[in-house]
Amino acid sequence: MGITFRKETFRDDYTFRNSPEHIRRFPFPFNEDAYMYAVNIEPHVVGPKGSVLENLIDVDEHYVAEMQDRALVLAEDPLRCQSLPHMTLAGWDLLELLMEQQALGYPEHFTLERNGDRWRWINRPLGIDDTFTFGDTSTLPYGPMEYITRQSQGDFCILDQRDGNLWMDAGMVTTQADWSLDFDIGMNFFEWHAPVPLAHEKGIFTRALKFLTNIQQGKPARRLNWTMTINPRLDTSPENYHKWGPDRATVTPENVGDKVHLRVELQSFWRLPRSNGIVFPIRCYLIKMDELVTQPKWARRLHRVIRDLPEELATYKGLTRYRPTLVEWLSKLDDGSPTSPGFGPD
C-alpha cells in the first residue's frame, strides 16, 4: 500500500495538516525536559517501522504538496537553487543517492532503471518518466542537483571539502529556518555558522567540523535541530521575512494551538563518492500545537523546555515575542507529573 498524498498548502490559506499516523511519527526532538546545544550526532541508520527513520531518505504524505510549494518559491526566486561551476559532479552524486534511496524505500512510487549510464527514472506521484544519460547534463531539463531536488523533500546543501574545511558551494534551499543560500554560498563552515550564539564558546563547531570532514562513504550521520514557526510556512527565508516575520505578532491565547508550529529539522550528512563532497539534507517537519498536544507526554515536556530555554536561544530562534503566550497555554497541559525517558510518545 502506498502513501496517500495530501492536497494542502504552506501559504495563504495554510491547509497543511498531519494525519493521526503522521502525528505519532513526528520526530519530537527533546529526550528530556530541558534543552541545550550538544554535538548530538549519531549514525544515520534505519530506525523503527512507522518512524521517520524507517528509510534513510523519508518520503511522507506531504511530498506532493511540498514539491508544489518548492516550485512556487523557485518561480519567484531562482537564486534559492545555486551550484558553483565545480559542483556539477557532486550534483550527479546527489541525483544517484536520492534516486536510489527513494526507489529503495518506496518502490510503489519511484523506480530507477540503470543500464550502464543510460538511466530511466519514474516518479509516479509527480507524473515524471525521464530517460537520460548519467553524467550528461544536456539530457536533463535542469542541472542534476536541481532536477532531483525538485523531486525530493527537504533542503539540500552540498559542501565541497578542501583545506580541512567544508564550503557551501551548492544547494537547493526553499524550506529554511531563516537563513539564505544566496548569502551563504561560497562560505566555509565557520563563516556560515557565525551567527549562532553560545555554541562557538563551547568549541562545538570545531569538533563538529572535525567529525564531518571524516564522514565516510556508506556511513552517514544525522542530528535533529528545531525551532518554531507561526503558521505552517515552509519558506521562512530572510528574503521573504516581510511576509512571515509579522506573523509572530499575531499569536493570541485563542489561536496558539492552531498557529504555533514546532519545526524540526532532521539533518543528515553523507559522503558523496565521485566528488568527495558532503551532502547535507535538511528535512523540515512541521506540527501545530493542537496536533502535538494530542500526545500528553510531548505537551508536558515542551512546556518545560520552552519555559526554561536560555534567553539567547529564545532570541536566536525568534520565539521572544510569543513565548509568554505559548508557555501560558502549554502550562495548562502540564500537571507536573514526570515524563518518560526518550523522544517518543507514551
Partner: protein, 321 residues
Amino acid sequence: MSTGTTKLDVVVSDVVPVNELVTRFHFRRRDGELLPTFSGGAHVVVEMRDGDRTRLNPYSLMGSPLDTREYTISVRRDDVGRGGSLFMHRQVKPGLEMVISYPVNLFSLDLRAKKHLMLAGGIGITPFMAQTSQLAGAGGNFELHYTCRTASLGTYADVLQQRYGNRVRLYHDDREERIDLDRLLSSQPLGTHLYVCGPAGMINWVRDRAAALGWPPETVHFEHFAAPQPGAPFDVELAVSGKTIRVGEQQSLLEAIEAAGVDPPYLCRGGVCGQCETNVISSDGKFIHNDHWLSEEDHRSGCKIMPCVSRFEGKSLVLER
C-alpha cells in the same frame, strides 16, 4: 561514535606482475555486486591475515572510478619493511578471500582547478592513475610529470603515455633526467593546482619550491603515507583498558594496541588523517614521531602520539587508551 569505515568482503580476481618490484592486485565483491563508487585519489585499507598476525595497509585505488566492477591496487615490494608488501607478493593469489575497507579519499582533486599539475615519484604514481582517468572522462585539463629510477621500473609509464600522449612527461634517474621544477612551477596558468605523491624527499622539495615561488598553500596537495617503520620492541601501558602490551620489532604501536583487543579509530594508518591520535599520560624516554598530523609543538610536548606510524624508546610509556 566510531569513525572507522565499513568493510567490504572481496575476492582476489587477478594478480598481475607489472615489473620486477611491482605487482597489481584486482578485487571483486564476493557477492557479485558492484563495488562502491570512489573518487580519484582514494585509498582502501587491505587486511592481511598472516597466521595469527593481522596487518592493515593502505593502498591507493588505481583503476578508473567509472568502473566499479573491480578495484585495483599496485604494491611495490619492500624487502626491508615490516612484511606487508612481501605478504601481498608471496601469499596473495587469485581466489583468496580478503577484507578491505570502503574507499577513503585524503588526496582529493580540487575541482575548482583550471588545470591539475601532477608530480609523481616511483610508486606514488598510483593515485594519479585514478585521478587522470576521472579527469580524462570529464574533459579535465591535467599534466603529469613522472619520475622513476629506470624505464623498466617506470610502472604504468607506457600505459599513461599511450592514453594521454604528451600530457605525460617521464624523467629517468638512470639517464640523469631531472624535472626543471622551478621553471615548471613558474610557467603555470593562474588557477593551477599542484599535486605531488612520492618519496618524502620529493614531497618536501616540491612543497618548499612551490612555497618559495609564491604558490598559495591551498593549491598544493600532497599525499604521503608514511609506512610504519620497524624498530626496537617497547612496552606500553594502556591506562583506560588496564593492559600492558609489548610492541614487536615488526609491529606498529597501533597494531599492538589492536592485538590487545582495543580498537582506536583509524582511516589512513599512515600518519595523515589524525583519527588515531592518542594522549600520552606519562613517559620516560624518547618518542620517534613519524606522522604528518601533529604539529612540531605537539611532537616536542610529549603529550600526544600517532600510534599508526610512531614509536618509542625508553623506560616507560603510559597512553590514554
